[in-house]
């Protein structure tokens, strides 16, 4: 009766069945995701309405500051608020998932020290909340396109690719920070700062055409999020929105490389999480 559950525990021994274990625990992944979502707005007055209010408020502020005060221009033929909102939607998805992944191990520290399951489940399950928020923000965006009478482009069929790339990139950065966060709580302080600064380093409030022909263009394009945001915008707003298809190669390669390196680092360190938490 027992043979199918036979295991051997030894140093470095969890390696072999890791991915199988991950698959066997998929129900737990689902339940943890559901927990995070249902807990999100407990004991708030407005509840889920926050997911709607937040992007609208951020967009309003940004449109006011950048468009009316700083007078930043959008790409010709694209309404500035739509440009900001599309950029904001995908950036917020990245920022939320990145933050949540980075904190996922610490938040679940009570589980880490008391039960075994592949630790990768925690970062993976923490993505759910960000994704739900993303879907809501995306809905708001669609409503806005109707409001601004801007046609949705057929390019939208490529949208899933860019969502997947965002996911890969946030996992890449997030896993790395999640590991560091277990050892050094400094990381917890650093993350909100990175997210805040990061928003200005990527084309959320401005168009990437601004960087064209400058000395830093090379480095600017190395940031996988630049390609992702431009691409996401191109999918939704059509060919008038600036997007350099060439950047797709570097974006894809860089984000996958980061993800794989982080995954290796995570796998190497996860066994010792419990000793440092």
């Amino acid at each position: 009766m027992a043979s199918q559950h036979s295991i051997t525990i030894k140093a470095g021994g969890s390696e072999k069945d890791y991915w199988k274990d991950l698959w066997l625990n998929r129900q737990l992944l689902w339940i943890l995701s559901k927990r995070d979502i249902s807990v999100r707005y407990k004991q708030t007055l407005l509840g889920v309405a926050w997911s709607v209010l937040r992007p609208i408020m951020t967009m309003t502020v940004m449109v006011f500051v950048f468009s009316y005060l700083a007078k930043i221009k959008s790409d010709p033929g694209v309404p500035y608020p739509l440009m900001v909102l599309s950029g904001l939607t995908i950036w917020t998805f990245f920022a939320n998932t990145f933050t949540q992944i980075s904190n996922s191990i610490l938040i679940n520290s009570n589980l880490v020290s008391k039960v075994y399951f592949p630790r990768l489940l925690m970062p993976l399950s923490s993505i759910a909340v960000g994704f739900v928020d993303f879907m809501i923000a995306f809905g708001i965006f669609l409503v806005m396109t109707i409001f601004f009478k801007h046609p949705i482009s057929w390019n939208i069929i490529f949208l899933p690719c860019f969502i997947l790339l965002t996911f890969i990139t946030s996992l890449g950065f997030g896993l790395f920070f999640a590991v560091l966060n277990v050892r050094f709580r400094d990381i917890g302080q650093l993350i909100p700062f990175l997210v805040q600064v990061g928003m200005y380093a990527v084309p959320v409030a401005y168009s990437s055409t601004l960087a064209k022909g400058t000395w830093f263009e090379k480095y600017y394009n190395l940031n996988p999020l630049v390609g992702i945001i431009d691409g996401f915008r191109w999918c939704l707003l059509g060919d008038k929105a600036y997007f350099n298809p060439q950047s797709l190669y570097s974006t894809t390669i860089i984000s996958f490389v980061i993800m794989i390196l982080s995954l290796i680092y995570f796998r190497k360190k996860e066994k010792t999480f419990v000793d440092h938490i």
Partner: protein, 419 residues
């Protein structure tokens, strides 16, 4: 047929002494991090400040199917580390363990309970965390609710639960796991008597159905009632294993030789200040049997000696006795007396049949003019009182902090004559 075979299990921890010299700068962190990223070596001997600590050392054992193993030892003996390795929470540094069978470990009740979620939601959450499939949880849902007795509060967030309800629900879920091997760590320490009885009953069911049980507890009575074999750990080593009765006796005889005395011979380095300094604090048990261990029958005397450094000081002693969890059981004081310079000694007698079994902490205060605390020696002594019972067939944890023998009798006051 052995279901668990452990060979040469060791677990090393690195104690980091780096933080001693002030808090590290961001530069330290970064450079250390970079070193770690690029160095292949696991044991980096450059860090001389790091000290090794072996939580487990060369542990070998084999457990047969249906064995009920009790694990005894002091705090820090490696019991919990072993359970953590068996439940795959942490990996051994060396050695290997082969396990045949589905294993479930209960290192804590209600692991992963989310305070905001309702009892119902938490049953599914906790069940999934403990490794139950959704269908299994659904199947035993009613039994879990019934066992925990929380029907009325199923849709209340668990943060509104009383601690008793919380623990009951947590244990109820775990009790309905159907593992071939069950690992339980000290869960009986919580919950009321009624519930502890239920838990022990449930664990007995588990063991009687031919499944394997590993049980860590400081409650030796429970271990004796449940387990047929026991392991005795000391300082990370498995120093004895065998029949429970034999192990428990062996353990008890060693427990009582734990240092029950603290003393300082040098007046300069003794704890205290320029008015008083502590010389000695000692506990003398009047052992009731030749095993030399303190149990509920044993009268205990405390002797406390200190140097008085101020001529003509009016001093008295005040002693607090706490449970291990920090509740104060009593506070007694001596009369104040005037002392000249020199040694002062105080004695307190605690009669047998007074304290319940458990771990206790004594603190001693030296008070001047019955109002000013000159020196407070917190956690001055820590001692254990073991359980002892006669003519009782019930083995649950005896409730209460004290366990006095009072004049309490029953007699028949009327006979009903059947005609």
């Amino acid at each position: 047929m052995p279901v668990i075979v452990a060979e040469n299990i060791s677990k090393k921890y690195i104690i980091d002494h780096q933080r001693k010299s002030g808090s590290p700068s961001l530069r330290d962190i970064v450079s250390e991090k970079v070193d770690k990223l690029f160095s292949r070596k696991q044991d980096n001997s450059d860090f001389a400040e790091k000290e090794e600590f072996w939580a487990l050392r060369d542990v070998n054992f084999s457990i047969d199917q249906g064995d009920r193993i009790g694990i005894v030892g002091h705090n820090g003996a490696g019991k919990s580390t072993l359970l953590k390795i068996l439940s795959r929470i942490t990996e051994p540094t060396t050695g290997q363990i082969k396990i045949d069978g589905r294993i479930a470990s209960l290192l804590e009740v209600g692991t992963g309970f989310h305070p905001e979620l309702t009892g119902r939601e938490n049953i599914f959450l906790n069940g999934a965390i403990l490794g139950m499939a959704k269908s299994e949880i659904r199947q035993s849902f009613d039994a879990i609710v019934d066992f925990a007795g929380v029907e009325k509060f199923l849709d209340t967030p668990v943060k509104r639960y009383s601690s008793g309800m919380y623990v009951r629900l947590g244990f109820a879920i775990a009790a309905h796991l159907n593992p071939e091997i069950l690992i339980v760590d000290e869960v009986l320490a919580v919950g009321d008597t009624e519930f502890q009885k239920k838990c022990l009953g449930k664990m007995r069911d588990v063991s009687e159905s031919g499944r394997t049980l590993l049980f860590v507890s400081h409650n030796l009575t429970a271990i004796q009632a449940l387990c047929n074999k026991s392991f005795y750990f000391e300082k990370g080593m498995l120093i004895d294993q065998g029949e429970t009765t034999h192990i428990v006796t062996n353990y008890l005889s060693k427990v009582s030789h734990k240092s029950l005395e603290k003393h300082w011979d040098n007046i300069e380095s003794a704890p205290g200040n320029d008015q008083v300094r502590v010389k000695r604090f000692k506990l003398f048990p009047e052992y009731q049997d030749d095993l030399n261990h303190i149990d509920v029958r044993t009268p205990i005397n405390f002797q406390f000696e200190f140097w008085n450094l101020v001529e003509g000081a009016s001093l008295n002693l005040s002693m607090h006795l706490y449970t291990f969890t920090g509740e104060c059981i009593f506070n007694v004081g001596t009369q104040a007396e005037t002392f000249s310079k020199g040694l002062v000694s105080g004695v307190c007698e605690i009669p047998g049949h007074f304290l319940n079994d458990g771990s206790y902490v004594v603190s001693m205060m030296i008070v001047k003019d019955t109002s000013t605390v000159l020196y407070n020696m917190e956690e001055a002594l820590i001692f254990d009182i073991e359980d002892y019972r006669e003519n009782v067939t019930w083995y649950g944890k005896w409730p209460g902090y004290i366990r006095p023998q009072l004049n309490f009798s029953i007699r028949q006051t009327e006979h009903v004559v059947n005609d």
